[in-house]
Amino acid sequence: MSKTIDAQLVRHIGKLSRIELTDAQVETFAGQLAGILDYFDKLQELDTTGVEPMAHAVEIHNALAEDKPQPSLSPEAALANAPQRDGDFFKVPKVIEDS
C-alpha cells in the first residue's frame, strides 16, 4: 500500500506545524513523508486488540510536591533573549484586527 501525499496535503501539514514551505520543499517532502508513512504502516501487521496503550516508560501517576512558592526567573532574565521587547513585555506584530 502506498500513501499519496499530494502538494495540498503537505501544505496543510506545513500550516498545522507553522512552517512556511517553498514549492521545492513541498515536492521533496511529499515523497519523503509518503515513504516514512508507508513504513509506519508496518504496525498494522500487528494485532493489538486489548493491548493497553503505553504513553510513558515509567508509569508514574502523580508526583506530589509541597504547595510552596519556589524561586522563578526575574523579568530581566526571562526577557534577556527576547527578539524584541518593550519594557517588561515581549513585542509582537499586531494580532487583533482594527475594528
Partner: protein, 502 residues
C-alpha cells in the same frame, strides 16, 4: 607521568586529589588538545576556555586550603549543546537557537560542577538531537576521530568524538533512541543510557519527553559509573525523575557478578547485522563464558528485523519509535516561535501566524521540519488512532518482550549499531536509511531501560565496533559491573584513535 589527557576520569581525579598534578595542568592539557585537533574533528560548538581555567584555579586553591574535594574535582568534561548552561550559548546545534543564552543550568550539569568538574565547552550534535550522524547539525558535521571521512554517529556525535580524540576526559550526551550509545560505538568509547527517570531532565532541551535521558560518554566503564553516581537521583524540578536510591556505582565496579546469565536476543543477529560485528559479539559471549557466565537465548519478537521482498529491512520498533518521537517532538518544538527567544524572521509579516511560520522556516533544518510535520500529521484528527495510539500499544508489546526476557537472564548482550561508522554523506539522501541505524537501540528507550555501549574491538578497516548490554529498570549497578567484567577480561578498553596517540 604519561600524557595527562590519556588518563581516565577516575585516574585524573585521583592524581589531582593526591597532588600528582593540578586541575590547571589538566585543563590546560585538554585546551591544548582541543587547539591541536578540533580544527579537524570539529566537535566543539563553543570552548569556554577562560571560565574552565578559572574553575581549575578554584579547585587547586581549594586543595591547597585543605578543603574536601568533590569526586570529579579538576576533571575536564564536555557537554552536549542540548544541556542548558547559564554561561555560554545553548544552541542545540540549531540556527533557531544560534544566539540563545539559557537563563539557568541543567540539574545534571549543576551536579557535575558541584562535584568539582571543569566544563570545557559545549559540543556539536544533530539539530535538536534528531539524527544518527551529527550531519543534521545547523553548524556543520563533526568528523569521526578514527577516520575523518566518516561520521561520529549521533545525535551526541560531538560528545563521543571529543572523548575519543582526548579533547575531554568525559562528556554528557542525551539518548532518545540511541543518541549516546550509537556515537559511543562509532567512536570506540563507552556510552550509558540510564533508566528513564534515573537522571533529571531539568535543563535538557526536550525532544521526545517520554524517551529522553541524559547519559555519560567516557573512556571506560568505571568512568561511566563515576559520572552516573554524580548526576543521578531525584530532583524536584523534574517530576519524572524518580526518588530511587543512588548507589555508589564505583565502589563495587571491580567485583565480578556471580552466576551471571547473559541473554542473547537471537532476532538481533540476522543478516541486517554487519559480519564483523556479528563475529565480535560472538567473541564477547565467549569472554563472558570464560568468566563463568551462562549465555541464554531469549526472544524479543516485536524488536525483530524483517526483510521484505525488495530486500529492505524493517522493524516494528523503528516504526513505533519514530511515531512516538515525532509526535512528542511536534509538541515540544512548538515553543520555538520567534516570540520569547530564538530566531525571529526579518521579513515583513502581516500577522503573528506569518511571524511563526517564517521564523520556523528559516530557523529549523530539513530533518527537524520533517519530524515536526509528521508528528503533527500523526496526531491530527482522523489519524491519531491509526498511528499514535497504535504505536503506544506496540510500545507496550515491546516492553512486555523485555519483561519476559528478564525472567530468564540478568542482562542482554547485543550489538549497538548494525554497522561501523559510515561515510559522511552516505545516508543523508534517504531519511529512512538513517532511521535504520537505530534498530538495536530504540527499543531500550521505548521500554525505559538502561543500556550500556562499550567497545568490542576494531574492524579490519580499523573502525571501532560497539556492543550493548541492556538491563531491567534501575539495574545500572549490575549493568556497569557486567560491562566492567568484559572490559577487564578482554583488554578492549581505552582505545585511542591514531590522531590522539602519544
Amino acid at each position: 607521568m604519561t600524557n595527562i589527557t590519556d588518563l581516565t576520569a577516575v585516574e585524573l581525579a585521583k592524581a589531582i586529589a593526591a597532588g600528582q598534578c593540578t586541575a590547571v595542568e589538566a585543563t590546560a592539557g585538554y585546551l591544548a588538545a582541543i587547539e591541536a585537533r578540533d580544527g579537524t574533528v570539529r566537535a566543539y560548538n563553543e570552548v569556554l576556555a577562560p571560565r574552565a581555567m578559572e574553575q581549575a584555579q578554584a579547585v587547586d586553591a581549594a586543595r591547597s586550603a585543605g578543603s574536601k574535594l568533590g569526586p570529579l574535582a579538576g576533571v575536564p568534561l564536555a557537554l552536549k549543546d542540548v544541556l542548558c548552561t547559564a554561561y555560554g550559548r545553548t544552541t542545540c546545534s540549531s540556527k533557531i537557537l544560534a544566539n540563545f543564552r539559557a537563563p539557568y543550568t541543567a540539574t545534571a550539569v549543576e551536579r557535575l560542577e558541584a562535584a568539582g568538574a571543569i566544563i570545557l565547552g559545549k559540543v556539536n550534535m544533530d539539530e535538536f538531537a534528531m539524527g544518527s550522524s551529527t550531519e543534521n547539525s545547523g553548524f556543520g558535521p563533526t568528523a569521526n576521530p578514527w577516520d575523518t571521512s566518516r561520521v561520529p554517529g549521533g545525535s551526541s556525535g560531538g560528545s563521543a568524538a571529543a572523548v575519543a580524540a582526548r579533547m575531554a576526559a568525559g562528556s554528557l550526551g542525551s539518548d532518545t533512541g540511541g543518541s549516546v550509545r550509537q556515537p559511543a560505538a562509532f567512536c570506540g568509547v563507552v556510552g550509558l543510557k540510564p533508566t528513564y527517570g534515573r537522571v533529571s531532565r531539568f535543563g535538557l532541551v526536550a525532544y521526545g519527553s517520554s524517551l529522553d535521558q541524559i547519559g555519560p560518554i567516557t573512556h571506560d566503564v568505571a568512568d561511566a559509573a563515576l559520572l552516573l553516581g554524580v548526576i543521578a537521583g531525584a530532583d524536584s524540578r523534574d517530576s519524572t525523575c524518580l526518588d530511587q536510591p543512588v548507589g555508589d556505582y564505583l565502589a563495587d565496579i571491580d567485583k565480578p557478578l556471580e552466576g551471571l546469565r547473559i541473554g542473547w536476543p537471537s532476532e538481533f543477529f540476522s543478516e541486517a547485522l554487519d559480519g564483523e560485528i556479528n563475529a565480535a559479539l560472538h567473541q564477547a559471549a565467549e569472554v563472558y563464558r570464560s568468566l563463568g557466565a551462562r549465555i541464554v537465548e531469549v526472544t524479543l519478537p516485536h524488536s525483530r528485523i524483517d526483510k521484505d521482498a525488495a530486500g529492505k529491512f524493517s522493524s516494528f520498533a523503528v516504526a513505533c519509535y519514530y511515531i512516538v518521537a515525532m509526535a512528542e517532538a511536534s509538541s515540544n518544538l512548538a515553543r520555538y516561535d520567534g516570540v520569547h527567544y530564538g530566531h525571529r524572521t526579518e521579513q515583513e509579516v502581516g500577522d503573528i501566524i506569518e511571524l511563526y511560520s517564517k521564523s520556523r522556516a528559516e530557523g529549523f533544518g530539513a530533518e527537524v521540519k520533517r519530524r515536526i510535520m509528521l508528528g503533527a500529521y500523526t496526531l491530527s484528527a482522523g489519524y491519531y488512532d491509526a498511528y499514535y495510539n497504535k504505536a503506544l500499544k506496540v510500545r507496550r508489546l515491546i516492553k512486555n518482550d523485555f519483561d519476559q526476557a528478564f525472567g530468564a537472564c540478568d542482562v542482554l548482550l547485543c550489538p549497538t549499531a548494525p554497522t561501523t561508522a559510515f561515510r559522511l554523506g552516505e545516508k543523508t539522501a534517504d531519511p529512512l536509511t538513517m532511521y535504520l541505524e537505530d534498530i538495536y537501540t530504540i527499543s531500550v528507550n521505548l521500554a525505559g531501560l538502561p543500556g550500556l555501549s562499550l567497545p568490542a574491538g576494531l574492524s579490519k578497516a580499523g573502525l571501532p565496533i560497539g556492543m550493548q548490554l541492556i538491563g531491567p529498570v534501575f539495574s545500572e549497578a549490575a549493568l556497569l559491573r557486567a560491562g566492567r567484567m568484559y572490559e577487564k577480561a578482554s583488554g578492549i578498553s581505552r582505545l585511542a584513535p591514531p590522531m590522539a596517540r602519544s
